[in-house]
Symmetry: C2
Subunit: 268 residues, 2 copies
C-alpha cells in the first residue's frame, strides 16, 4: 500500500483499529457502547482526514484544535482525542524520528490551542489539578510559565501514557509497530493490542478507577496470553466493569500508522 | 451533519453501508468473505475519497477511471465498482436532480474510459455480449456507434439495476433514501436493505445464478419481512449459497448518500 498518502494512512489506521475483532473493553468490530458507537468512530475518521491533509501547513497546536473542532460534528462524544495527540506529530514528521523533532518545535501558543481543544472535549482529567483545562486560569498560567505544548505533555507524562509518548521518543508506538511487523495481515492487530494490555497498565483506566485497577487489568491480560482466561471472557469482564483501555487504543492507532508507513503488509 | 462535504458524505455512506449489522449474503459488520474482507471495503472508501474530492474537475468517465485505478491498491478485488457508478454522478450533480443532468452530459470518450475502467476490474458480465468489456473490439464499436456513457448504461439497463438508475432518474436510489428518512438513526439501514431485497430481484444475483434464483431470493426476503424466516437464518442461507445481492448494496450506498445530503439524522 505504498500508494497511500500520509493522510490516507492515518485515516486507515483509525478504521483498522476500531474494526479489530476484539479489543477487550473497547468499542470494536463487534461491540458498541450505549452512547458511543462503532459508527461514531467511522465518522470521526472521515472528518479527521481533512485536517490530516492540512497538517503540513499548520502548527501542532493548530492541527489539534482543528481536529477536535472538525470531528465534533457527530453525537458520539470524544472518540479520537488521544489518537490525534499521536497521529498529528507522526504525520508532520513523516514517522517517529520526524515526530520527535516536530514536538520540539511546539510553542506556548500551541499549548494554549491544545488546552482550548481539550476544553471542547469530555476527556477525563485528574481532579484538583492546577492545570485543569476547565479552569480559565490555566491558560493564563501556561503563558506565565511559558509552557510549550511539549511542556504540557511532559507535565502530564507521569499519569498519561499518551502524553508520555511525546517525551520518550514514541517508545510504545515503536513497540506496537514492531509487534505488527512481525507478521503480515491486519488480523494481528488483535494480538498486538492484547500484548500491549498485558505489558502496560492503561492510564485511562488508572484515571477512572485508580492505578491498582489498571495493574489488575494488565494481569488479567497476562492470564489471557498464558491461556488461563479466554479473550472473549476477558472482553466481557472489561465491558461489564466499564473498564476501557482507551490510552492503549490510541497507541494502537499510532502503531498501525507507523507500521503502515514502514511497509507492513496489512492486506493479506 | 450538515458540515460534511460531498466527498465526506460519499465516503461515510460507503462506511455506514458496509458496517450495517446484517446485509443478507453480503460483507457486513459481522461477515467477511474468504478473499474479500470488511477491511478491504474500509480501504476502498479511504482511497476513493481523493477522487470524490476531484469530481467537480473531471468528467464522469474520467472520475470512474480514476476511482477504479485509485482503489485497486488493496488485495480485496473489486469492492465498490457499482457504487461509483451511482455516487459519482450524485456527487457531480449534488443530488439526484443534478445527477440526472450530469449523466446527460456524458460523451463517447466517457464511455471509452468507463470501458477501460471496467476492464481493470473482475466485475461479472454476461457471456457472449458483443459489447463485452474484455473484448478490445468493444471500444472501437463504442466509437463507431457514437455511444456515450449514458448510452452504455441504457444498453445495460435491462440486465443491470445499477446501470438502470442512470436512465430511470435514480428511482431506486430515491426509494432507498426515502425509506431511511422515515426514521432517524443509522440502525435503519439494515431494514432498508431488507425491504429493497424483498421488493426487487438483484441483478448481480441474476447474472451469477439466473433470474429465477434472483426472484426466489426476493421471495425469501419477503418471508423475513412477514415473520416467517429469521434475518440471521436468511443471511446464513445466502452466505452458504454464495448468493450476494451486490447491486442492491450499491443502491443502498447511493440511498444513504442521498438521505445524508437531504439532512437525514443518521447519528442517534
Amino acid at each position: 500500500m505504498s500508494k497511500l498518502s500520509l493522510a490516507e494512512t492515518a485515516e486507515l489506521s483509525m478504521l483498522l483499529e476500531v474494526s479489530t475483532n476484539i479489543k477487550p473493553g473497547n468499542i470494536d468490530r463487534f461491540h458498541d457502547y450505549e452512547d458511543t458507537k462503532f459508527r461514531h468512530f467511522l465518522a470521526s475518521a472521515v472528518l479527521a482526514r481533512d485536517v490530516f491533509e492540512r497538517v503540513p501547513y499548520m502548527t501542532l497546536g493548530e492541527a489539534m484544535y482543528a481536529a477536535v473542532e472538525h470531528t465534533n460534528g457527530h453525537a458520539g462524544g470524544n472518540t479520537h482525542f488521544g489518537a490525534f495527540i499521536l497521529l498529528l506529530p507522526l504525520i508532520k514528521g513523516k514517522g517517529i524520528a520526524g515526530a520527535c523533532e516536530a514536538v520540539l518545535q511546539t510553542t506556548v501558543e500551541d499549548a494554549v490551542l491544545f488546552y482550548q481543544a481539550f476544553g471542547r472535549t469530555q476527556v477525563r482529567v485528574n481532579k484538583e489539578d492546577e492545570m485543569d483545562v476547565n479552569n480559565p486560569a490555566s491558560i493564563a498560567m501556561l503563558r506565565e510559565k511559558q509552557m510549550t505544548m511539549l511542556d504540557v505533555m511532559r507535565y502530564s507524562s507521569d499519569t498519561d501514557m499518551v502524553a508520555r509518548e511525546w517525551v520518550n521518543g514514541f517508545s510504545l508506538t515503536r513497540k506496537a509497530a514492531d509487534m505488527l511487523k512481525e507478521k503480515d495481515g491486519a488480523d494481528s492487530i488483535q494480538d498486538m493490542f492484547l500484548r500491549l494490555m498485558a505489558a502496560y497498565p492503561d492510564t485511562f483506566i488508572a484515571k477512572k478507577f485508580g492505578y491498582a485497577r489498571a495493574v489488575s487489568i494488565m494481569e488479567r491480560a497476562q492470564l489471557v496470553l498464558s491461556g488461563g482466561l479466554s479473550l472473549s471472557r476477558f472482553d466481557e469482564e472489561c465491558i461489564l466493569g466499564g473498564v476501557n483501555p482507551g490510552s492503549l487504543a490510541d497507541i494502537c492507532i499510532a502503531g498501525i500508522f507507523t507500521a503502515l508507513m514502514e511497509g507492513w503488509q496489512w492486506d493479506c
